[in-house]
Amino acid sequence: MELLGLYNYWIVVVLMMAGFYTVIAFDNLVKKIVGLTIFQTSVFIFYISMAKVSGGTAPILTGEPEVFSNPLPHVLILTAIVVGISTTALGLALIVRIREAYGTIEEDEIQAQDDQQ
């Protein structure tokens, strides 16, 4: 079955949609951040699974001729993980600040308070 070779992308799509659903369906801001993190991880898995070569090993030169997995997506995702954690930290700090200002982290309550003013 030729189509079964695409299963890595399907796992990625399922994970990504789980994160996407969490972002749009919940009002709690912390849950939204968790959904974004899941979404991010699915993109990481997408890149890393594209880099995989069957029969290949980790891209570390040993002097013997070997088949390596593609190192470039690994580099990209290394950078993306670190950038992702800094954006997550910024988002969580914003949530703490919103909680200070509004006393709630539920999006609809924040909206209601904004409408009153």
């Binding site: 189509l3 070779g5 695409l6 299963y7 890595n8 992308y9 799509v13 399922v14 990504m16 949609m17 996407f20 659903y21 749009i24 369906a25 919940f26 709690n28 912390v30 951040i33 991880t41 990481f44 898995i45 890393i48 699974s49 594209m50 880099a51 995989k52 070569v53 029969g55 290949g56 980790a58 891209p59 570390i60 030169l61 088949v67 390596f68 997995s69 190192p71 470039l72 690994h74 290394l78 950078t79 993980i81 670190v82 950038v83 954690i85 800094s86 954006t87 997550t88 930290a89 910024l90 969580l92 700090a93 914003l94 703490v96 600040r97 909680r99 200070e100 982290i105 539920e106 609809d108």
Partner: protein
């Protein structure tokens, strides 16, 4: 806790996909730092989430349609582990062949990250620096606001609570039990 386990699982997945460097980073950053950050935020904001209707009526169709479109898009993608995929044909063979001699590093990921794409990594450091400043500004403002009302609140209470004490005999440790008796009487 679940997010920590999730990060560790994805780190294990990266190991099986031959991306050991990524797995290290994910285990340290995702499993460590992000779990601590998330727990800290939960401690600061309170972990009770109001049980309310989810917006699944809108969210579920959107998610299903998007997912369906994405899966339709994958049908043209190269198969998993295919060595002839376009991603493996260009640029990368040169790195694999020459990076060992050019940089002297056995790990190709390290040589690309630190040597060939050093500017990229410098930009990444700038991003982290900016995010750090942002977090400090946000949380610094939050704690300053929390500190400011703290001394302001007890002041209006002081005249009522202190006046009876200053009007009576001086409060010393010896007199305190007697005062307590008088209060009871």
């Amino acid at each position: 806790m679940l997010s920590g386990i999730y990060s560790l699982l994805s780190a294990g997945l990266f190991v099986t996909l031959d991306a050991v460097d990524v797995a290290f980073t994910e285990a340290a950053v995702g499993g460590g730092i992000s779990t601590v950050l998330l727990l800290g935020t939960l401690a600061l904001t309170g972990e009770d989430s109001k049980p309310r209707r989810e917006r699944w009526r809108i969210a579920l169709p959107v998610v299903l349609i998007t997912g369906g479109a994405l899966i339709y898009g994958t049908l043209d993608m190269p198969r998993y582990g295919d060595p002839n995929a376009p991603i493996h044909q260009h640029v990368v063979p040169r790195y694999i062949q020459d990076s060992g001699q050019e940089t002297g590093l056995p790990n190709i990921v390290t040589s690309v990250l630190a040597s060939y794409r050093g500017y990229d990594t410098m930009g990444e450091v700038t991003v982290i620096f900016t995010a750090g400043i942002g977090v400090m500004v946000l949380l610094g403002a939050a704690t300053r606001r929390r500190r400011r009302p703290a001394p302001a609140e007890p002041e209006p209470l002081e005249p009522e609570t202190i006046e009876p004490e200053t009007a009576g005999p001086e409060l010393t440790p010896e007199l305190a039990p007697e005062l307590a008796k008088e209060d009871r009487a």
